[in-house]
Symmetry: C2
Subunit: 443 residues, 2 copies
């Protein structure tokens, strides 16, 4: 029988076996007294199973309030729990209610974080996953063998469609690969969605006609469902290739519905992520999170960036990038991609596998990026399958946006050549200027 | 100009004014260096504004990791920040990205929790809110002047549609007002949604024909969007009155789309809530959370219960119930309900205002409830506008489910009469039996 496994980091005042069993019980049967009909046979078939317990350290105070008992010692452990696929069938919200539902409420735990998921091949046959992923995004933009260089329209709010289009023209002339709306910009009266599309797309088409270069623009679709579908259609009819969704704000059912349409690459913005992740013993870690969105069909997903302006450390960002580049179904070729392809992909120097979709998702590196983070990003991840976003790093470049984009590409060449920031700045005068302008400014 | 205000509990290593200003900046402009086009006029019009700062205590260690600087003292404060409605327009996901987006990521904070929202009357004119709410739920079920008594089909998983229907028959005979699927039960192969509806609804119709009593059954709709719409239609065609959605698993856009249909009362299950709320300095508090779902149109929402089996304390549950019973737009009659009506409603002894909808939401009390919590629940909230769910408290009653339902109603009569648990048990022998069976068993 196919089973879905979830790995949790837990902390509990109880014996770990007992706490783990209560989690498994709550998430597959669950009331506080035995009830008629809860037969042994039924339990056998549907019960969640504790597969593995790996004890960790013991601590003297609880990570979260409300556990019972609340004094004494608190044991930390990594536990693996599995459920038959039958319990939730092929239903993503039901899956989430199972692996992330009431279990955070349990007083048996003083800490609980979902670390990772293991998905059986049966899901690969049911879900299409990202329609475009890494290969499709590269195909849309014609960018191979290096990260896509992108930026965000700033200021986030206030520009009219025409002002946005003027900025897009500047960025197009600067050689940008990708542009996105800010997540705060959706469909306000001063920049209605359709008018923004009507202003921006002609600039991109004219640029493509002139240069052959197709810039991808991620229009922020995030809205109520009918508006999203209407706006999606507008982008398609206008010849666009991408739309952005704030994943946490829209939610799983809405995002999946949009991804299912399958005409645009979906750029997944994870704003609100800190709420789900910032505490070490509450919430969900990115390796698990990104799997849910890949099942839903998101093609590009935000992972923050090294040396970012936010709270997250580099190790966590590296783990996030790595998790995106791992196959979603490591033990199957059902999704139409060989493991060999994916391994080549990981080398970072070949481009993504030829098969479009294949459950691959393009990591979107952003937050305070100006190019100086490229050497360390490449050293630690060994990949160029990235969408590398710089905001101020491009628009605030002292020699203008074209110099900003040029510098970012140069930073990535230097990174792939194995140069450090110091070596790159010594070799290329334009990168020395970047260092002087931006280093130490990220906050 | 209409503005939306959000109150946050924050903790920061920086001067509070500086931290608050960085939040306002990130959530309305937001990059790490000034960019061209960020004019003073534009800032004036769209900038978020720090309205109020109320300092709290200072602590010596940070509530969350990753703040900068990470040593020294950490100041706690309550701050109020406001945005022009124009920024996000009438777009719930954009609202969420604004008030709950990247701000949890900011290294300027070592703690940040959204406590409450203040919504301008303009939103009351745009959003319909709950189609049915308290009055509609009462009208569907014919229950007035006391809480609706409900239960959850258990075991959560494994029953066939026919077994579920048999249990529904038992519960109908027992005099129940409301029955719901467990949140883990959606549309699995052993109980396909449509077959469950086909098995359950004839039992409810026959019961209504025989007794005049219309029991509300909340079928768990939670699924991908097309499946939810299909299943919704199935419930409507079968004469049902309610459907349940796991709010956090489905997400805001999906939930709003379903609520907008407006033929069924929507029962909002908040599983996953602990992830969003359990840490005192991360996430969102229920007074803010329930407002978002009322805007979306949810008619009934889970609030946990007093003396529950989970981690949450009674004070928090009481505050949640109170927040549901407060008008969503206190300064307006735009939603078609007078403030007087709502005040009468709060007395707990009159039934809900006659106007269906009116942005009212019915609090759903559950988790380890057996009736003994009724006196304290009424004493502290002074309302009978509740849907009171008991699982084991009904099905595991030693004299059978009918005795379980009878006892729950009796507990509520005693509660409204102002009796304590001890007084109620002394006055009514059947309540003494409840105490002997269930007291101390909730875990």
């Amino acid at each position: 029988m196919d089973r879905i496994s979830a790995t949790y980091l837990i902390e509990t005042p109880l014996p770990v076996e007992m706490a783990a069993a209560s989690l498994a019980g709550e998430q597959s049967s669950g009331t506080f007294v035995p009830v008629p009909g809860e037969t042994e046979e039924l339990k056998q078939r549907f019960a969640a199973r504790v597969e593995k317990i790996t004890p960790r350290e013991t601590v003297n105070s609880p990570a979260l309030p409300g556990c019972r008992p609340s004094d004494g010692k608190f044991q930390r452990a990594e536990i693996v729990v599995s459920w038959p696929v039958e319990n939730m069938s092929y239903n993503l919200p039901a899956l989430v209610s199972t692996i992330q539902g009431n279990l955070y409420e349990l007083s048996q735990f003083s800490g609980l974080k979902l670390m990772d998921l293991e998905l059986p091949p049966a899901l690969a046959r049911h879900f299409r996953g990202p329609k475009f992923g890494v290969a499709g995004t590269r195909q849309f933009t014609g960018v191979q063998n290096r990260p896509l260089i992108g930026t965000i329209i700033k200021p986030s709010l206030g520009l009219t469609p025409q002002q946005t289009a003027t900025l897009v023209q500047t960025l197009a002339d600067a050689g940008i690969d990708f542009i996105k709306d800010d997540e705060l910009m959706a469909d306000p009266p001063h920049s209605p969605f359709d008018e923004r599309v009507d202003a921006v797309m002609p600039v991109l088409h004219a640029h493509a006609d002139r240069t052959g270069k197709k810039i991808m623009y991620a229009f922020n679709l995030s809205d109520e469902l009918d508006a999203m579908l209407r706006h999606y259609d507008k982008v398609v009819r206008s010849g666009g290739t991408c739309a952005m969704i704030s994943l946490n704000s829209v939610g799983l059912a809405g995002v999946k519905k949009i991804c299912d349409v399958g005409a645009l690459a979906i750029h997944g913005h994870r704003n609100g992520w800190g709420l789900l992740n910032r505490h070490p013993f509450l919430g969900i870690e990115f390796p698990a999170y990104q799997k849910l969105w890949r099942l839903a069909g998101v093609d590009q997903i935000h992972v923050n960036g090294l040396g970012n302006k936010f709270w997250e450390g580099d190790d966590s960002v590296v783990r996030s990038i790595e998790s995106c580049l791992k196959p979603l179904f490591p033990d199957t070729v059902a999704a139409g991609v060989s493991r060999l392809n994916l391994r080549e992909n990981r080398s970072g120097l070949t481009s993504a596998p030829a098969t479009i979709g294949d459950f691959s998702v393009l990591p979107v590196v952003s937050s305070g990026q100006w190019g100086g983070q490229a050497p360390e990003t490449f050293r630690r991840t060994q990949t160029v399958d990235l969408l590398y976003l710089a905001g101020g790093g491009i628009m605030a470049h002292p020699d203008g946006p074209a110099a900003g984009v040029h510098a970012l590409r140069k930073w990535w060449e230097a990174a792939v050549d194995g140069l450090t920031v110091e070596q790159a700045a010594a070799k290329y005068p334009e990168l020395r200027m970047s260092v002087e302008t931006f280093a130490g400014k990220v906050r």
